[in-house]
Subunit: 164 residues, 3 copies
């Protein structure tokens, strides 16, 4: 593992990240407590939270948010402005009005398998599995599992093409 | 009222903001001329414009844009990448080609009531009222009022579940 | 042409940009190798890539991504969180697992004609032409050409109103 990205760039916040070899991280990024595999590239305006794992040879494009509980396999393309979600019914506060903490909700883990491609502007709900080589259309809202090789699109995302 | 957030964080632009007590503002944020209630937390890559009001105990998540004319109640959750809108037909220029100024369009005020939850990637058109405790699905485009307690989703957003 | 924006603002990355006269560029921006016409204004958290062209008197709002191959005409309004796309099937790697480079995919050029208005949260696929004065609804996913003056909305975007 490496201690840092191989490139230099201003305006980055990198805290407690496990970097693979040859990782590139662009400017205006906030990465903490996550793991980034060899040769992956992280675009501008990206936040990757503690607990997220990015595989090798991935591209995570600009304006994307990867939350805790998301595991992304090798050779995955995540487009621009993609939002991952890890809870079913997010709330700011509990019924008694107290601020929610990590103890007050259940993390829904999401798995994105090898060679998946997620189009720009897509939203991926918590708890889904996106199978190997699947294609998620731009702007799709993925609410359930996507089988390997399938192409889905729309809100909510529906099957456009079966396994190629 | 406090003069500043309680936390420190690099890369913030905070100008003329009225902060409540215990507010947390993360990095890469641009807040100006707005009001943020006690204990609310503002995520990375967030812009909140002059004239916007955020209540107490809110979470405004990363990559979200809150424009002038938006009033957010207490205990509201605004997900990641949520875009508020405050004009009906935005244009860069007037019919005569001159640049539009504040005098050239009508602000449509938006009200988000107490304990609403807005899913990631949602877009909220100007002029709507989202009633207390309503849930807006991830990726929804809210084009009209949402009654208290309702759940809506889709593009445009439609009723998924009546008042709980 | 000017060497720089007329305004000053912290946290900007401007590299090899051809600026027109009177351009304003806000903070937290990453512009490189692109061309920005006279008096246009570029919002926060915006990235504009090498090869993109922005006309005169445009507004490019916050959180928007403009990629290589996009040509935007004069007096165009691009809302907040708009994502442009320039390839049909983005992949992180080639079939042999090697990282994709510019030689491994075909750029699909996009043209946005004069006085178009693109709503917040819209996604514009590569290879489309949006005709003069057209309106793209907020949250729309534009998958094919839009004729001049048309209004489209939805996922995928469909005609709401013919030429006005």
């Amino acid at each position: 593992m490496a201690d840092a990205p191989v490139n230099d760039a201003p305006f980055r916040l990198l805290s407690g990240v496990e970097f693979g070899e040859g990782v590139i991280v662009y400017s205006f990024t906030n990465l903490y407590g996550c793991r980034i595999g060899d040769r992956s590239r992280i675009g501008t305006f990206v936040e990757i939270q503690r607990g997220a794992v990015i595989g090798r040879d991935c591209k995570i494009q600009s304006h994307t948010f990867v939350c805790d509980g998301v595991t992304i396999g090798d050779e995955v393309f995540v487009g621009h402005g993609v939002m991952f979600i890890n809870d079913r019914r997010p709330r700011a506060t509990n019924e008694d009005g107290s601020l929610q903490t990590d103890a007050d909700w259940t993390l829904l883990p999401t798995v994105v398998e090898r060679r998946v491609s997620i189009g720009s502007g897509a939203v991926v709900m918590g708890g889904v599995r996106i199978g190997e080589g699947a294609l998620i259309g731009a702007g799709a809202v993925v609410t359930r599992d996507v089988a390997p090789g399938e192409t889905v699109a729309g809100v909510p995302a529906r099957l456009l093409a079966p396994r190629r």
